[in-house]
Symmetry: C2
Subunit: 168 residues, 2 copies
Amino acid sequence: MKLEEAKLQFIQAWGKLGSEWGINRTMAQVHALLLITPESLTTEEIMESLSISRGNANMTLRDLMGWGLVEKQLKPGERKEYFYADKNTWNIARQVAKERRKRELDPVIKILDELSKVEGNSNDPAYKTFHKSVKDINKLAKNVDKTLETMLKAEESWFWGSVLKVFK
Amino acid sequence: MKLEEAKLQFIQAWGKLGSEWGINRTMAQVHALLLITPESLTTEEIMESLSISRGNANMTLRDLMGWGLVEKQLKPGERKEYFYADKNTWNIARQVAKERRKRELDPVIKILDELSKVEGNSNDPAYKTFHKSVKDINKLAKNVDKTLETMLKAEESWFWGSVLKVFK
DNA sequence: TTAAACTTTCAATAATTATTGAAAATAAAA
DNA sequence: TTTTATTTTCAATAATTATTGAAAGTTTAA
């Protein structure tokens, strides 16, 4: 396989995986493109490479910056903006974990905490089942939360070293 | 908050979380409904509870069985089918992990393995960057894969005991 | 058999989500 | 200033994904 073809396949695969996990396909593709590009790119170049409109490119790049995955670079003497993606995979994983935790896990834990407090008659099977499910899911969510918390602070080698040793 | 209201909120929250993670909202809601219901329910009852059509209920239930989260029960002497969800949260987490791994992670690893093999000129920055990114992501994906593999075999208390102790 | 009770399918439609493109806004240069 | 380069916004539109509902299929009972 030739490099150019491989690049396209990588961008496709990344886009597909993203969309299966609730991340906008274009966003995943732009990220993929920047990941395999040594230099930073302009909006124009990204539009061209992926055949997307200026509006789409602009919004997607802003989203990626909001996720902390891409940063803007200004070159002295140049007017246009360049975009660059951090290539450190561990940073990327951490950043994604951090954002999804904040955006999705934390709100759900808040609701589960509320729902855990709901009182009812413990002879009522409907209440018992509700309460048990909510409590158990809440506990699981909190364990995930704690683990992510630790992961966010950890160094990659230490993290995988520990995990894979424990689970060997 | 009253139990009935709490149930609705739970179903809503579960549906929202599901859709943010690429799982059909209705599927997550049907699952949530079955999770908090002590008995098994008929298609009719599910349609009614969630105000969805027969076709939608039918397909969603089949999907949930495909994910291994819901099972069909046949009651002696009765013609209609009843649906029941496993209430064990750890089983649910494992089952979801197992399916997503099979459906999404494994195919991606396969592609990354292919792309890792692509050869090129190591003086070419485009090639170097491509190769490094693919290799690093591949490694990360494989670590996740191994960890899931272990999780699938593990008992809940042992798993969290180990993880939270290591990361304390 | 035939009918009744139920389940499945799937084309049509609706709802949601993503994308475009052109106008408005901004910022530097002339 | 005014012009030019660039970015941003957002209503309109397109693409995708989910849902309906009624017809066809299946299974058991009469």
